[in-house]
Amino acid sequence: MTTYVDLSTDYLGIRLKNPIVAAASPANAKPEMLRDLEAAGIAAVVMPSLFEEQVEFEEREFGMLQDYGAESFAEAASYFPEMDDYNTGPEEYLRTIERACETVQVPVIGSLNGVTPGGWTRYAKKIESAGAWALELNMYYLPTDASVTADQVETNYLELVAEVRSQIKIPLAVKLGPYFSSLANFAKRLSEAGVDGLVLFNRFMQPDINLQTMEIDARIELSHAAEMRLPLRWISILRGQVEASLAATSGVHGHEAVIKLLMAGADVTMIASAILRRGPEVVKTLLDDLQTWLSENGYRSVSQFKGGMSYSNCPDAAALERSNYMKALTSYTGPYV
């Protein structure tokens, strides 16, 4: 007979019933999926991102379409019927959030992807008004210009965060990529700027070369299990150094990964690829396996072991620092003698 383990955890100041959260994914836009996830026991859901790049692209394209060939020729002042109610994304997105909040009881987290401060951040407010419990700001940006310094990029991010922070009262999480010169420092500054949580990490689309067409194939692959090691390392490093909640995402495919990430210091783990591959039922399997393993191994609650293997708490912190296939150094002297 196994004893019941308390899986509840705090994320962004919200009490969650367990540490399994559905990461931002297009699949989450559908009410049926949300219902299935909830039935399977998901603790919270992050909605797919409203992409600044995409919305602005569509607005620009649509604007150009209405102007295309227009007012050039006496017989045809335009080539398309005038459309007043064209929706380039935001309104539909906000409706999706509203619908999600009506569909499920678990917290719904909105997600906004943008990189330029300015008018764009007004959508943070709108997402809040649409009923989201929290907002995940997805900073998906590839600085390709060699003349832009790391400092400029970070400053830009911090300004964006400050602006979004000032727009909303709900908790704010930031999802970022791993490619910072001093990730720990930047994470700390984000936390100090009022960010309630960090989601580690964003997976960038990885382009490929098509040898037939000699063109770039742009696509996103689902994650694989080994990818969880990157957030594992950084979460363990950050836990204890930053105030913000920590969420682990990428490569969370089984209950062991969940346990490891929680031990490293994550408050929640987020899954997307596992749901896309195995359906929403995977959540139930994960939770059952988690319960069983923790129980069998004598754990009482998530809060008991959360961060137990963080950088400051683990027995071999140096191993987290190593960056190469360096042979483990054998110490010939003990710490106390």
Binding site: M64, F80, P81, M83, D85, G119
Partner: protein, 1191 residues
Amino acid sequence: MDVQAVTVDGNEAAAHVAYALSEVIAIYPITPASPMGELADLWATRDKPNIFGTVPEVIEMQSEGGAAGAVHGALQAGALTTTFTASQGLLLMLPNMFKIAGELTPAVFHVAARSVATHALSIFGDHSDVMAARMTGWAMLCSGGVQESHDLSVIAHSATLKARLPFVHFFDGFRTSHELNKIDLLPESVIQSMVDPEAVQAFRERALSPDRPVLRGTAQNPDVFFQAREAINPFYQDAPATVQQEMDRFAELTGRSYHLFDYVGAPDAERIIVMMGSGTGAAEEAVEALCAAGEKVGLVKVRLYRPFDVSALIAAIPDTVTGIAVLDRTKEPGAVGEPLYQDVVAAVAEQWSPAGGRPLPRITGGRYGLSSKEFTPAMAEAVLDELQKSSSRPHFTVGITDDVTHLSLAVEEGRHSEPEDVHRAVFFGLGSDGTVGANKNSVKIVGESTPLYAQGYFVYDSKKAGAVTISHLRFSPRPIHSTYLIQKADFVACHQSQFMDSRDVLAVADHGATFLLNTSFGPDEIWDRLPQEVQRQIIDKQLKFYVVDGYRLAREAGLGGRINTVMQTCFFALTNILPREEAIERIREAIQKSYGKRGESLVRKNQEAVDRTLDALNQVNVPAAVTSGHHCRQLVPTTAPDFVRKVTGVMLAGMGDHLPVSALPVDGTFLTGTSRYERRSIAQSIPIWDADICIQCGLCAFVCPHAAIRSKAFEPGVLEAAPAEFPTLETAGRELPGHRMTIQVAPDDCTGCGVCVEVCPARSKEVAKHKAINMEPKDDHLQRERENFDFFLSIPEIDRSAVRHDQVKGSQLLQPLFEFSGACAGCGETPYLKLLTQLFGDRLLVANATGCSSIYGGNLPTTPWATNAEGRGPAWSNSLFEDNAEFGLGMRLAVDHQMQSVRSRLHELRMQTDVGLVEQILAAEQETDADIARQRQRIDQLRQHLSESDTPAVRELLTSIDHLVRKSVWIVGGDGWAYDIGFGGLDHVMASGQDVNILVLDTEVYSNTGGQASKSTPRAAIAKFAAGGKKIRKKDLGMIAVDYGHVYVAKIAMGANPNQSIRAFEEAESYHGPSIILAYSPCIAHGIDMSQMMSHQKDAVNSGYWPLYRYDPRLAHEGQHAFQLDCRKPRMSFREFAMKEARFATLTRTDPAEAERLFGLAQEDIRDQWHFYEQMAGVEREIASVESHGK
């Protein structure tokens, strides 16, 4: 009463009322009336109700004839019904109009009056169409401006119900239909009050109903027809009074008063003009000016032209009048005078009362304003002056110089000037830069948010790519009735600096005017870059000269090449129409209003453009003297033919109005191949060939819509005279051993569309983005490429028999005889036409349906159909929209008859010449290009033999000897013609079995009139007249043709399978019966990046949306399957194809649920069609050979 001021054009003003008062609206696109139908369709799509609280049924028909039939039926069944049309469209409605009037049926047609095609088509305004309808028995009410077209619309709709006569309400095409002006919008309550519910009820009670059946439309005989016809008379007698009553009721409701004939001018006038339409605006200004100068003149504006109320006209004319000039905006050759003139003469003859012994006034008749020719106050003054002369001409023209029959009046243009307090601004721009849009916006800003009145009128050139636009804007404290172009502007803006070298932009600038130039050069750099002529005008006219780098500012604000907001901001900043701060605020509001619905990022970028502009506008310090070392560019090379230099060149300079009558052909016949002299140089980037990488596939030349990429193969010796940097390659493959080849761009004729680069399959190994042909900045290459192209033209054409015609590579070594048309950059139609001329150009007759292809193919100043070195080339003509198949069939019959006739004559004369040669000629096969070449040689020999004898019979034979060469007759048109308006004729021509070839350039919409749906428009696409997505499946015209059995049918898409396209052309031509090719033609109305149009064709085929096939009856004769599918099973979903094209993808954003439904049905259509075609490919047929068919 709360009156809302709005700024609309005449079309919208009329459509607003027509929609409100109609229950059924049958529409069909025709310039310049199309926007009325488009608005009606759009409003219905948005469920906007009419005044009866219902949404009108709006239906697009297959032709105006169809629309009139539907109107007639709807009226008979008791629905208040309207339609909108013009020109040939109105003519197609005439048969129904006689019926509708004969049955005393209330109805209103709103007509944007336009020229009827005679020696040429014209889309512009005059009264030749409505005058051709004056015998139908319809009442005719004429509006002279935008407010009037609004007001008289409601009067027409109310009067028709009371008078029981149907009404044509007309206003001048373009001048009124497209003029933006500030008007008082009629409140719905007024429209309501104008319609008498009892009259509506009476109309409904007269409708056909099985509950109280009657019969209408009998056949009558000599015993009663005449009497029955006369029974209608009382209605015509009463109608004028009814109209006046309605006008009076309207005046009570609105304060705006109209009469059957409105008189303005001196109460004791001696000389008056009688006229109708927009010209009254200019004439009234002339009359006011002359009266102010003490002259006794006046103007009668005709409102109700039919029924013509003689008493009302006589009553409107002051007793003191001694001279009347009647102006008609139409021409009725051979008549005593034009229609209004004849009416006035007859009216005066009938009812002029000799009160006080006043003598009959002298009446003259003049023509003016045909095809929107300018009619100015100075012209009206010239007309009134002429009346003063004792020897005044009884018949005259005004507005042109007639140096043939000397009918034209001399006009002193400078004598009339507009009031000081009217701001007048003229803007020169390109269609693509947003100039017209910005100016429409400015007119709305001033018109709708200030007490000022505003007017905008826009002039476009005849090109679809790189079109020049000229905007004329007036702002005034009083309503603006100046119905003519601005002649002296106090503000002139040139939004494209290249115009400074090619056209006289500053001719319109008044002394002391402000001149704004958009240029990348700063205030200190610009002066020396202007040509001498421009500098001289700036100095002499003391212009205040400003520059702004609009393109940089727009780019920096994220607006790409759209400089509209930047230039609009400059305009308001430099003029004092509104206080600067207020103007900027209004621009910001307008930006919010116009871009808000398109997305907030656009609002932000445009607002940013406003901010940037205010700091970047600089005044130029104008030196006291001309310093420039260069002159304006010569538009036409001195090597051009005389006609091109003296006539075409003047038109190209925008000075065609100054050409006298004698300069023009008497019968509309023009020489071909003039587009080569235009050299518009509109591309920013041009394709540059990299010979090292080229694999000589020929695709770049194959796809070029403007024949601006050429390839030639030649003996190496040719290169001795080549420019230093003229790249060539040794020819690849077995053909043409020892030859060299080159690919050459025509740098001044390329439009920069980039289609050639997109299709180029050869990439550099070192830099993958570098291909064998690459778009590069034109300025870096212009000089070299000009020299190279000139040399390229001098290289002799290849021996046509030395290359294979049935493949891309060989076909592209053949000379195109269709070049440099005015089609859109990246046009999907023109590459097919170019290919047609490469294959059969020197023996080609083309019958071209009205539409895009007739416009880029035949719109002056220059035309693209060209000739080869022997002087042979396509002979081209456009008859109408609806009759093109029949037109081409007629050509075939004539050509065949000529052939037969010359053959029999030759046979008779065979003994007088080389009988063996004659027999060879008569027996010659003329199936292939080589056969034709041999026949031509034989004919040349025969010509030489025959020229030795000089008998009348031989002389006659010699004049027709070229008829012995088989001619290729092609019937060309778009889907609007083939699927809709011309389908009946097309069907008949296919059935005829005659040897004609039909090429349908299928863009799946009415492209030329702006993208209205046709029966070719696919399910799920949005288009005008199908704003909510097309609900029904595309018509399968190919299968209708296949059903005949004896018709050769091919469905092609050159971007998907180039060789199949070429084979289809070859097979269609060689088939001695009717052939039809359906050619997939991407269009800007598809909402795609046109540079990618060939890959869209691939997707269309790969998704099964446009399956390729050929049906060749000859195969059936040989016992094979006649129907061959030329593509593989669909391997891409419809959605994947559709989401790349805005015509489909937009629907997923405007109505996602409907998009889902229609996309599903569209996919089902594809599945069903493929299944059907697969079965077709297995069908065996026994088709009788075409020779036995119907001959």
